[in-house]
Symmetry: C2
Subunit: 323 residues, 2 copies
């Protein structure tokens, strides 16, 4: 059923072509209505293209984040790949836990342990070398439960949404807690988002001349964690202009959504709600990864768009071989 | 005289229209030849638009930097404006030096003194409040020797070069040691460079809810100095792709030029050389601001383009009232 409100909006037909994996329903309707409002020339809510900035969290918003963040899977595989060069790791509880798949010991090591693993696997090489490591890993690794390459664990409806926004003059950005250089090698192909529109957590790099050739060495030191209150900070730093649309899926995205909502003029704030235990996962208030309670409450209180995966999406993942 | 080499290049005619303030000569020829090489379809040196990234230092490259960096003039004026609220400054040597125009005492305070002044004048307000301070100051302040608004102290030939590059599918960026939020309020109007393409030094900001309204507070803590070896680091962080063109004017730009030069395929590295004591300033190896010795030697050794202001530019500044 096409609502009366929708029938009078010009590009709505275009959305049917552009968003085939979205069910007709409130989420799709809210998206199309928003895009129509800000792109209709002469409308009092028209927004010029230079201000059509759309922010997307990555893990759990654009691609799957269960059972562990995909960058963590990369990290564990790196530890295994490097173990032969590091016989001493066998005697270290943290690395031993990874090598033996001891999830309980890993969880006990907490954030500190994860950081230590991250630094051991993400630093000590040039930016170019790291880029190759990421690409090589993605070329062969597969998701343990979804049984597909990680770059095929993206959400097809969100890929369509990104393309729909760009077709309507938006610039689409990723604003993720994930590593900026972990994402940039593949986001253009997976989402159509070029490196310069990828914002994320950063580690320190140092410019060096190596046999006269300039390189950037990745150092084992976190510079910035692009999560929670860090997200509006990094949006302001990288872009210098407030977005008009933001999409997340967890409490880590709340401040980005608040920052977006606080601008003047039309705004769109969205949350992907993982409600589909059958086709993906169902988790929110109790999950250690992608916990969603505070942001869900605020979204409901303020009328932000909550996209229930189970209800709003006809398909979750791309058909293999079709991309 | 049009050289034979130039005559066979397609868009050369366009350059005559686009670069009217440039003398016919080696600098203009090098620019036009480079742009022609990378934009000619079917040429083995063709570069797709997504990789046509051009970096420009700001102080001394796009606008004047003598007798002091323009941001320092802003800082001194802020100290004077805030002095009434800070009677204690009268008793502090550093602030007293600013209030009394004691250049010698200021110079003696060194970089540490300047940082202290910067933090006292650039922090303690929201990002939006700071933006207004910068805009308000620029609306009324004038350059003490050039007798023109600071935003009219831009180099007309460089403004034309930026537009010429954009007309040829380049994305133009600023990569400056100056404060990122000091530049963003005015670079779009002055240079056609939008906030998201301005990279610079950053101070810490903190997301806060003020009476329920999200703001970003500017804190008195330097996060990153975007100079020297910091420039390739920030280019990699903000853009994630190596530029094919870089322009600077001092040793602080050397690493950015080296990083640009080290990529594969056609590259352009340029230096503005301040050789015009009459129309602007003449300085290089001995100057405390914008010192140019090491980078000049390397440019000459490697055949980078050195633009002698006196010889290469017909005019230096825009005609007042024409912009």
């Amino acid at each position: 059923m096409v609502s009366l409100g929708l029938a009078c909006l010009q590009p709505a037909w275009a959305a049917d072509v552009a968003l085939p994996s979205w069910q007709e329903g409130p989420a799709k309707r809210a998206i199309v209505q928003f895009v129509t409002r800000v792109t209709s020339r002469g409308s009092p809510e028209f927004v010029p293209e230079s201000e059509r900035l759309a922010m997307f969290d990555n893990d759990g918003t654009l691609w799957a984040e269960q059972p562990v963040y995909i960058q963590m899977a990369f990290m564990f595989d790196r530890v295994k790949a490097l173990a032969l060069q590091h016989p001493e790791w066998r005697a270290q509880q943290l690395f031993k836990a990874v090598l033996e798949g001891d999830v309980k010991a890993l969880a006990a090591s907490g954030e500190k342990g994860l950081m230590e693993l991250a630094m051991a696997t993400h630093a000590g090489m040039t930016t170019t070398e790291f880029e190759h490591l990421v690409k090589d890993w993605l070329a062969t690794a597969t998701h343990p439960r979804l049984n597909r390459p990680y770059t095929e664990c993206v959400y097809q409806p969100m890929v369509e949404l990104l393309a729909y926004l760009r077709a309507n003059g938006f610039k689409t950005y990723i604003v993720s807690g994930g590593g900026i250089e972990f994402m940039r090698p593949w986001t253009e192909q997976a989402y159509g988002i070029p490196p310069k529109q990828v914002i994320g957590s950063t580690i320190k790099t140092r410019f060096e001349l190596r046999d006269g050739i300039p390189v950037l060495m990745r150092l084992p030191e976190i510079v910035f964690i692009d999560d929670k209150a860090g997200k509006p900070v990094s949006i302001n730093k990288f872009i210098g202009r407030r977005p008009i649309l933001a999409f997340g899926n967890s409490n880590g995205d709340l401040e980005m959504l608040q920052w977006t909502a606080a601008g003047s003029g039309p705004r769109f704030m969205g949350l992907v709600h993982h409600t589909d235990a059958e086709r993906e996962w169902a988790y929110d208030r109790q999950s250690s990864i992608g916990r969603l309670d505070k942001a869900l409450d605020e979204a409901q209180a303020r009328g932000w768009t909550v996209v229930s995966m189970k209800d709003a999406w006809k398909t979750i993942f791309p058909t293999l071989g079709e991309r």
